[in-house]
Symmetry: C2
């Protein structure tokens, strides 16, 4: 079943069939009806590959993320998929894992599939060492690249993110204002975004005249059990801490597990603040105070920027939204 079959059956040329399919107005109602009738009768659908070849696009956007099962990234993907589809774009999904080389491979793979644009989801795409981000700039020579919760300068690269520095700065400040100064900071990746968060924590301490203590900051990967055990061993060294801020809700849940295991009561003995305001924050107990980085808003911004680029409208290179501290049961304020 192709456009020739339809044109024969309807007694018109393929050009007319094409016009009808693509909503071209220069077709008489009578002809249009006839063609549509044949199309419906035959259940004809234009061949997407041929169309893609001619138009040099299949209206597809690539979404790259380290791990689509991470609740926060999963939510991002969900929003993006919905919004892209509303705009008539399909989603090609790629889960890269956390290795730089794989991210690079998959980005090139998407380019070779001729996607119209790529969205890099999550802060983990941007490395602190700028040279390692060069592959993204290279890709941006071919299609627009959108960073969701990441920031990178470069032509044809657009960023939408939350002010991570300010967010942890404010959260840290909030604790200090409430008389809590022994604050642990836990993070789980060395991305640029996580560096910002850490900087916010450090700056807040400095601004309040509280000395920064290296042993209060830990880089941690692994499951909840690992987090718990790390905190237990930390407290066994005699370290005394009254609060924990984490770069991720998952770590914060680990902190809750630690508190339970030591019979510490939350928040009177230990305050905990997570990051992302993901489902983790609601299903744990006590429910987690968490920094909300306005995921839906950011996703919406990404898509509107991308659509703007496609239609050659002027769009902002970088959009930064403020975070919001969502207070639940792991803090007393």
């Amino acid at each position: 079943m192709n456009i020739y079959d339809i044109s024969k059956q309807a007694g018109v040329s393929i050009a007319t069939v094409s016009r009808v399919i693509n909503g071209n107005t220069n077709v008489s109602q009578k002809t249009k009806d006839k063609v549509l009738a044949v199309i419906n009768e035959c259940g004809y659908t234009p061949n997407a590959f041929a169309r893609g070849l001619g138009l040099n696009t299949m209206n597809t956007v690539g979404i790259l993320c380290p791990d689509s099962s991470d609740p926060y990234l999963a939510k991002s993907i969900y929003y993006l998929e919905q919004m892209l589809r509303q705009n008539g774009y399909d989603v090609l999904l790629c889960c890269t894992g956390y290795e730089l080389s794989e991210k690079q491979n998959y980005l090139n793979l998407l380019l070779s599939k001729r996607v119209d644009g790529v969205i890099l989801v999550g802060p983990n795409f941007i490395e602190v060492q700028d040279a390692k981000n060069e592959y993204i700039r290279l890709a941006a020579k071919k299609v627009p690249i959108i960073l969701l919760n990441g920031t990178l300068s470069g032509e044809n690269i657009y960023c939408a993110l939350c002010d991570d520095f300010q967010a942890t700065y404010d959260a840290t400040n909030c604790l200090i204002k409430n008389g809590i100064t022994d604050i642990l900071y836990l993070y789980n990746s060395n991305s640029y975004s996580n560096k910002q968060k850490l900087d916010g924590y450090v700056a807040a301490l400095a601004d309040q005249g509280i000395p920064y203590r290296k042993e209060f900051v830990s880089y941690l990967t692994g499951d909840l059990q690992c987090v718990k055990e790390h905190l237990i061993s930390l407290s066994r060294t005699g370290l005394d801490f009254k609060a924990i801020i984490t770069s991720d809700d998952h770590l914060a849940v680990g902190a809750i597990k630690y508190a339970k295991s030591q019979n510490l009561s939350i928040p009177s003995d230990l305050s905990i603040i997570g990051y992302n305001n993901s489902i983790y924050a609601e299903c744990c107990d006590p429910e987690l105070t968490s920094i909300d980085n306005r995921l839906e808003t950011i996703c919406k911004n990404c898509i509107s920027t991308l659509m703007g680029v496609f239609s050659k409208e002027p769009v902002p290179l970088k959009t930064i939204f403020p975070a919001e501290l969502v207070k639940r049961e792991t803090t007393s304020f």
Copy 2:
């Protein structure tokens, strides 16, 4: 940059370039080296659309799911994406929501994009009324359809699932054997799979001579708060229950929230068993006993079946795995 440019630059015909690209053996090493050199120099990548047009495939599989941000579905998608990519297939992701008409629309959309196969993820695709599943059988006339955790008979439809009936049967039995007979059952969708789960619960009661009580079974949608409130109002009616089995971990977390709010101690006052063994089960407190339906195994089976269909090998129509009760802190056994 197309195959003609390369062929000119290398001083060979486009046929030879094509042969080199596609690893055809009938090319002399010398020619091959020359062509490869030019390809690398120019950074040439074959046009995927043209290739698709010629081969009538772009090696793409559609994944349809109601909501990619649901932890259980997100995990499924993650596994599937990984495994498909290992086999050289891309993933076109579609989030349909829970409306039948939308599922239908999106399935047709995927077909029009000429995917090589479609995987329907999650039990929610199969309706109890068989007529409502007809659109899937129709789609299967064009490409193989794989049901992940669903079951439907039909040509070119393949199913991999977990024995939901047996799973809740065994879980219910387990509670009864431990002297708990007042067991609530909560479910959140009317899918075929959820019907199986409910049947398992009912059958276990019957086999143990415990009368089935309609008021012990609730259909519930909504967030954790809703679940909690429903249970509170249920207990206010004087209903006395000692255990809750749910069709989904999310509902079970709601049940935990309920127990907390009523100062019931878990599991001595109330036992809770969830379903899916998702991240919900680990991050709540107490950690949730949950029925694990072997997601990774099922995903692996789906992909191997699909690849089998693609290569025209004989494959099973239906594969059923047993579930496993993962015991944590919400049950005493």
